[in-house]
């Protein structure tokens, strides 16, 4: 890639990453807090205890603040698709647009109807209808996330489509293959449980602050009890779905798995790294040891990826050489090809697309058919044709490796916090463990870091692809200047900063006020 293109791709990526991470500051809390509020309101309706109504109203207010500040921030991503990633936007065709449109309709109806009942409907509609509205908002926000995650999963595992050489667009031929792709299902459950866990830790952390301040103690302890139980169940399901995600990545994106583990040379019975430090100057095929220091579990990665302690896991160099198997976008197990061969076949596919257009201009149907055949035979390698050397197919190892391990370590820590909260709150000793209350409070920050780290692993780990194997970022960008993207980056950074300050200050003000008094 030339320098100008590199700058454009880097700034466009950075802007997209910033926008997505900012959007993700709000989404997980909405996903989980909505469910927690709905559970609390169910307790209120069943028991008639006014304490729960006050508790619901307090947490609902924080839900509302988070929802209001976060709403529509995802739309900026859609702006960026059209401006910075126009080749990508055209190439994905209706496959990406359809789930986003469904999500938009879902969100619109929820926000204009049931959310209003949830906030304005106390004492105006029946308890049952109000509860139903709260549940519908909670379920609806999660279903709304489903469609976004389906769109994202298609980029990771482009199933159920046909590439039309007439238009250079992918056309959906099997909606169920897109919706029920194993990657989508796993990504949805893993993401949703991460949101549930985050919201539970948020509730525990805020409650810990009240206990430290020795105020609203009954409210804080009861909230903690519920959140800890909900959070622990969610966290265990998060681990389970995380294992499922690793299996999917091993099958469909083996390079990402190798990057997550800093695994350059794989084999049978491969260990999993618990903690490690990578050598910064390590390059594929240089024969150097990739780690300065490494604490690992023998055979752990083989077991995680294949379910067999002696299973084969490919490293980065194995993938470059073609010594790996993968599941293609039709669900078939395939033997991998050497990267250089994939690049050659990719170039054939790209040339065939050009030949097809040329033949079409000349109305040469025979040449069109010939070009189409070459294109279809090599389409699975289309994106590799844009790479100049095999190393360009390797994501940033350091960022993928460290964020993956940070996510796992923080996830383990969060489970301990949830167990501690559950144990001490049910034994009636939570308020006496002041050190633990401080840990709980700061865990809010840690759970957000873990959640963001998870997305960094998912997205950085699949680079250079915007669509796995089919379109690298370098071919997906628009022909705009890097300077334009830089300008919008800084404008957006200012907007983000302002909104985050607004959210945090309004939240703190409301937390300081506390729940309504009886």
């Amino acid at each position: 890639m030339n320098t100008l293109l590199t700058a454009l791709v880097d700034w466009s990526r950075l802007q997209f990453a910033l926008t997505a991470m900012f959007h993700w500051c709000f989404v997980p809390l909405t996903l989980g807090l909505g469910i927690l509020v709905a559970i609390m309101e169910t307790i209120y309706v069943r028991t008639g205890n006014e304490f729960w109504k006050r508790t619901v109203k307090f947490w609902m207010k924080l839900f509302g603040i988070n929802f209001a500040i976060g709403v529509a921030t995802g739309l900026i991503l859609e702006f960026e698709f059209g401006t910075n990633w126009s080749n990508y936007s055209w190439f994905v065709g209706d496959i990406f647009g359809a789930p986003l449109a469904i999500e938009g309709i879902f969100a619109f109806f929820l926000e204009t109807t049931f959310l209003a009942v949830m906030f304005f409907g106390w004492n105006k509609v029946g308890k049952g209808f109000h509860l139903l509205s709260t549940w519908l908002v909670a379920i609806g926000t999660n279903l709304s996330a489903l469609w976004i995650l389906i769109a994202n999963s298609w980029m990771q595992y482009p199933a159920g489509m046909y590439f039309n050489p007439e238009t250079a667009r992918n056309e959906m031929v099997d909606i169920w293959a897109v919706v029920f792709s194993p990657v989508a299902m796993n990504k949805f459950t893993h993401t949703v449980f991460s949101g549930f866990t985050l919201a539970a830790v948020f509730m525990i952390g805020v409650s810990a602050w009240y206990l430290i301040k020795k105020r609203d103690q009954e409210f804080a302890i009861r909230s903690t009890k519920l959140a800890a139980l909900f959070g622990l169940v969610s966290a265990l399901l998060l681990v389970y779905t995380g294992d499922g995600s690793a299996v999917q990545v091993a099958q469909k994106q083996p390079m990402k798995l190798a990057a997550m583990e800093g695994l350059y040379r794989g084999g049978n019975g491969v260990a999993i790294t618990g903690i490690g430090v990578l050598k910064c100057d390590k390059k594929p095929m240089d024969g150097k040891d990739p780690m300065w220091f490494n604490l690992s579990v023998p055979k752990g990665l083989s077991w995680l990826a294949t379910g067999n302690i002696n299973g084969y896991v490919a490293g980065i160099e194995d993938i470059i050489e073609g010594n790996f198997q993968y599941v293609d976008r039709n669900g078939q197990q395939r033997q991998g090809l050497p990267m250089k061969e994939r690049m050659t076949r990719g170039k054939l596919a790209i040339a065939a697309l050009g030949d097809y257009q040329q033949a079409k201009k000349q109305s040469d149907t025979e040449a069109m058919l010939e070009a189409k055949t070459v294109l279809e035979e090599n389409f699975d390698h289309f994106g590799y044709g844009y790479l100049n050397k095999p190393e360009e197919a390797v994501p940033h190892i350091g960022l993928t490796f460290y964020t993956f391990h940070l996510m796992v370590l923080l996830g383990g820590f969060i489970i301990l916090v949830l167990i501690g909260s559950l144990w001490w709150s049910y034994r009636g000793r939570l308020e006496k463990q002041r050190w633990f209350l401080y840990v709980s409070m700061w865990s809010i920050l840690l759970v957000y870091i873990a959640s963001q780290a998870g997305w960094i692993v998912a997205e950085v780990g699949r680079q250079p692809w915007t669509i796995q194997d089919l379109l690298p970022a370098s071919a997906a960008v628009s022909g705009v200047s890097a300077g334009t993207v830089q300008t919008t980056f800084f404008i957006f950074l200012t907007l983000i900063g302002t909104l985050l300050i607004a959210e945090i200050s309004i939240m703190i003000k409301q937390i300081n006020k506390g729940p309504e008094k009886s």
Binding site: A68, S89, A116, F119, L499
Partner: protein, 68 residues
């Protein structure tokens, strides 16, 4: 029917009137949407393919980009 519409209208009106922190949030939401749609979208986030009028022109441009 009109009775039903009036009830919905009053439901929203009362809800908006009785908001406390919600008023601040609405100001933020409106300001955010104005910045997004009237500034960012119009001046900074133009559709890069908007200059190509028909889908055929758009696809020709993208194919040129992809195959050059």
């Amino acid at each position: 029917m009109s009775h039903w519409i009036k009830r919905v209208y009053l439901f929203y009106l009362d809800g908006f009137k009785s908001m406390t922190v919600g008023k601040t949030l609405w100001v933020i939401i409106i300001a955010k949407l104005v910045v997004m749609f009237l500034i960012l979208k119009i001046f900074f986030f133009k559709d890069a393919l908007a200059d190509y009028k028909s889908p055929a022109d758009k696809s020709r441009h993208v194919i040129e980009q992809l195959t050059q």
